[in-house]
């Protein structure tokens, strides 16, 4: 389960004091952390930071401003099973073609594992464009609104895409498609993967892409159309067959254990005999012909030499001397092997048990899957088609085969105003709220009491932008500096408040309109709620002054927990 791994600033416009960077970064991150979404700790929800789903009653709607990725619970154990099985059984599968000279390619063992892994979490790249409005000062102390855009490349490890076009997979894995096909064919034989081939033209491809997009995949819909308009191509799709995988793995383990056990008891193994002189081999089925009436041994039909029982393959290396010794040694070896199997397969077996009572996810054939998804598609946001940009649209779309998988990245990109900043701070006391979430609310309040905003905005902007540049560890000094700077800025603003009021108000309408326009575009559904919630927002805005200080402190203290942040980054 990934959350945003990296954020990149596209247009850092406002020069900033570096020391202002950290706190916001912290907030940013906390955004992504699920534990932070505790509803009780959340501040009053910022009105504009809500996704279209806010009324849906899903848990995610309660934590506005948090990235919530609600994976369908039942599929993850299966994926884990697949990953475990891959490592257990397909670790050293080499995919070399028979005709391929051994030295021509590097060792590609482990490729199989990579491919299986990739199938369990077909990655979806989502680029959320988050725009934040920043204020910068010109020489006269006038504030100017600027939009900073952040491309948030979120890499969601999602199990959402059962049917994957093999070309796409190859591309994603940077494998040659032939190589990939060989591996997939192998897995098909192993019954782990189902594949489907069909001839299709551009339309077919597009259909798949739409379906994929509807299933919340990030592949651009248009990528293939140009080339394929004329020709029909055969495309292959593959899909993990979870139900069968469970059976296959269970059966495989059963066979392994049984074979060892039988071997250990030398049960059900048919003895083979070999003639030491002419190397002719006999099985016990030939015993009747081999019996000699002169002595107790079997004799070779050809050279009449005495036959020797051939020991089992597993222990054949150490064979050679006396029967009993060899037998004993073989038993030991087998026992050891049995033990190791028990031990090493323990996680896999445990996972199998866990999965046993869960219904395996069924995707159906390629056609049914596509039909289902395309059916779902029109209901979803229009944005779903443009999957690379609008994450909300995508995730609003229910996926028929999985129930509802929602990934909601809820952020507000537009005008960060002073109120917003303040309320953001309020939020940070209680829990961390990214300042840009609160922007719209800020606008209103700013009109009422515009002064305070500058400092906070300044702080925010700088933070936001420098986020990316500065990867430095958070040291206390930076935090303290930030706080100091913040206070100073606040004071300054208060002083200037009376003087600048007129000017700022002139500026504000522009910013408002901009921000609102954006809000309207991106988050249509939220519009309804605005009116109501603004009032709440105002309250918080008014009250901010007093507990701002407290907030700051809290922030500074909280900033120490970098470790937590790492957690979700890894995830």
């Amino acid at each position: 389960m990934g959350f945003p791994r990296h954020m990149t600033t596209r247009q850092p416009r406002v020069p900033l004091h570096l020391s202002l960077v950290r706190p916001i970064r912290r907030r940013w991150r906390r955004l992504g952390r699920r534990p932070a979404c505790d509803a009780t700790r959340h501040p009053p929800r910022p009105p504009y930071a809500l996704s279209g789903n806010r009324n849906s009653g899903s848990p995610s709607s309660q934590c506005a401003g948090c990235c919530v990725m609600a994976l369908q619970p039942s599929i993850e154990p299966f994926n884990r099973l697949v990953r475990l099985a891959a490592r257990a059984f397909y670790d050293d599968v080499s995919m070399k073609g028979d005709n391929q000279p051994k030295t021509s390619r590097g060792d590609n063992r482990g490729m199989a594992v990579v491919v299986l892994d990739a199938l369990t979490r077909y990655r979806i790249y989502i680029i959320c464009v988050v725009s934040a409005v920043s204020l910068s000062y010109d020489l006269h102390g006038r504030s100017r609104l600027e939009f900073a855009r952040f491309a948030l490349e979120a890499e969601f490890a999602q199990d959402t895409r059962p049917w994957v076009r093999e070309e796409d997979l190859a591309k994603a894995l940077k494998l040659h498609s032939k190589q990939l096909r060989r591996i997939l064919r192998f897995f098909e034989e192993e019954k782990l993967v189902t594949r489907d081939h069909r001839k299709e033209n551009a339309k077919g491809t597009k259909q798949h892409n739409t379906a994929a997009a509807a299933a919340s995949d990030g592949q651009p819909v248009t990528n293939k159309e140009g080339e394929e308009k004329v020709k029909m191509h055969t495309h292959s799709y593959c899909c993990l067959d979870y139900a069968q995988i469970c059976d296959v793995v269970r059966y495989r383990i059963h066979r392994m254990k049984k074979k060892l056990k039988d071997e250990l008891d030398s049960r059900n193994t048919i003895q083979h005999y070999i003639c030491p002189s002419c190397n002719k081999r006999y099985s016990a089925f030939d015993a009747l012909q081999l019996v000699s009436f002169t002595d107790e041994y079997f004799h070779c039909e050809i050279c009449n030499g005495e036959l020797v029982a051939e020991s089992d393959k597993l222990a054949s290396e150490e064979m050679g001397d006396g029967d009993d010794n060899a037998r004993k040694r073989r038993r030991e070896k087998l026992k050891d092997m049995q033990q190791r199997i028990e031990e090493q397969l323990k996680p896999l077996v445990a996972q199998l048990d866990r999965v046993k009572n869960l219904p395996a996810p069924e995707f159906g054939s390629l056609q049914t899957w596509e039909r289902a998804n395309i059916g779902a598609f029109p209901n979803g946001d229009l944005g779903a088609a443009d999957s690379s940009r609008n994450s909300q649209g995508q995730y609003g779309t229910p996926m028929p085969y999985m129930g509802e998988t929602k990934v909601e990245v809820e952020m507000l990109g537009d005008g960060v105003k002073e109120e917003g900043a303040e309320s953001g701070k309020n939020g940070s006391e209680l829990k961390v709220l990214p300042p840009w979430m609160i922007k719209d609310g800020m606008n209103l309040t700013k009109e009422q009491r515009g002064e305070t905003s500058k400092a906070s905005q300044f702080g925010e902007n700088s933070e936001v932008k420098d986020d990316k540049k500065q990867d430095s560890k958070d040291d206390q000094s930076i935090q303290e500096e930030y706080i100091k700077a913040y206070y100073e800025a606040l004071k300054k603003k208060h002083d200037e408040a009376s003087n600048n009021k007129v000017k700022t108000e002139v500026d504000i309408p522009v910013s408002d309109s901009q921000s609102e326009r954006q809000v309207g575009k991106k988050y249509k559904r939220e519009d309804d709620d605005e009116g109501i919630e603004w009032e709440e927002q105002q309250h918080t805005g008014n009250s901010t002054e007093t507990y701002k200080l407290a907030d700051l402190n809290a922030e500074a203290q909280e900033s120490g927990d970098d470790e937590d942040d790492n957690e979700w980054e890894d995830g």
């Binding site: 030398s266 049960r267 048919i270 003895q271 016990a284 015993a287 009747l288 107790e296 037998r327």
Partner: protein, 177 residues
């Protein structure tokens, strides 16, 4: 395992049998021909229990022989892998022992004999436990499990094991005497 099935066979009958006892002759010849034979598909034909139907005879040109298609019921015996059988030991040597279950020959190799039984050569070669309580020798009756069969056109040969629960000697000729 035994099965009671219906088989069909074309019987050729010499012209000299044509007469009032033609049918009896046909049946007795059928029994003589078929009983004790082995087919790979059905196993050993143990006994013919009845003739269902004798079709119209066809006189072969030149020889005068008549071919009758005969349907008959019979009991067949076919050993299967995993089946438990009781058999009589026919021969014991260092490599294991041979046993017979009716028409079927079974070989039990020495590594399919329980580990505590040792081969004793001598006048009467046998496998004996260390305490001498159990002895496998010629004429012993053993219960064994078939772990492999080889079915030829005319013969079925099996590999058996007595290394499992409840397998082994069921009556000892030495003890009975």
């Amino acid at each position: 395992m035994f099965f009671h099935i219906v088989l069909e066979r074309n019987m050729q009958l010499h012209p000299r049998h044509f007469g009032p006892h033609l049918r009896d002759k046909l049946v007795s010849k059928l029994i003589k021909d078929v009983e004790g034979t082995c087919s790979g598909r059905h196993g050993f034909v143990v006994a013919i229990t009845g003739v269902e139907d004798v079709g119209k005879g066809l006189i072969r040109e030149g020889t005068g022989f008549v071919t009758f298609p005969v349907k008959y019921q019979c009991v067949v015996f076919r050993p299967f892998k995993g089946e438990i059988l009781e058999a009589v030991v026919t021969m014991v040597n260092k490599m294991g022992f041979f046993a017979e279950a009716g028409p079927v020959q079974i070989f039990v190799s020495n590594h399919l004999i329980p580990d505590d039984m040792e081969f004793q050569s001598g006048d009467v070669p046998n496998y004996t436990t260390s305490d001498g309580s159990v002895k496998i020798q010629k004429e012993s009756e053993v219960r064994l499990k078939i772990i492999g069969t080889r079915v030829d056109a005319t013969e079925i040969f099996c590999i058996g094991t007595i290394k499992d629960d409840f397998l082994g000697v069921i009556s000892d000729p030495g003890a009975a005497v």
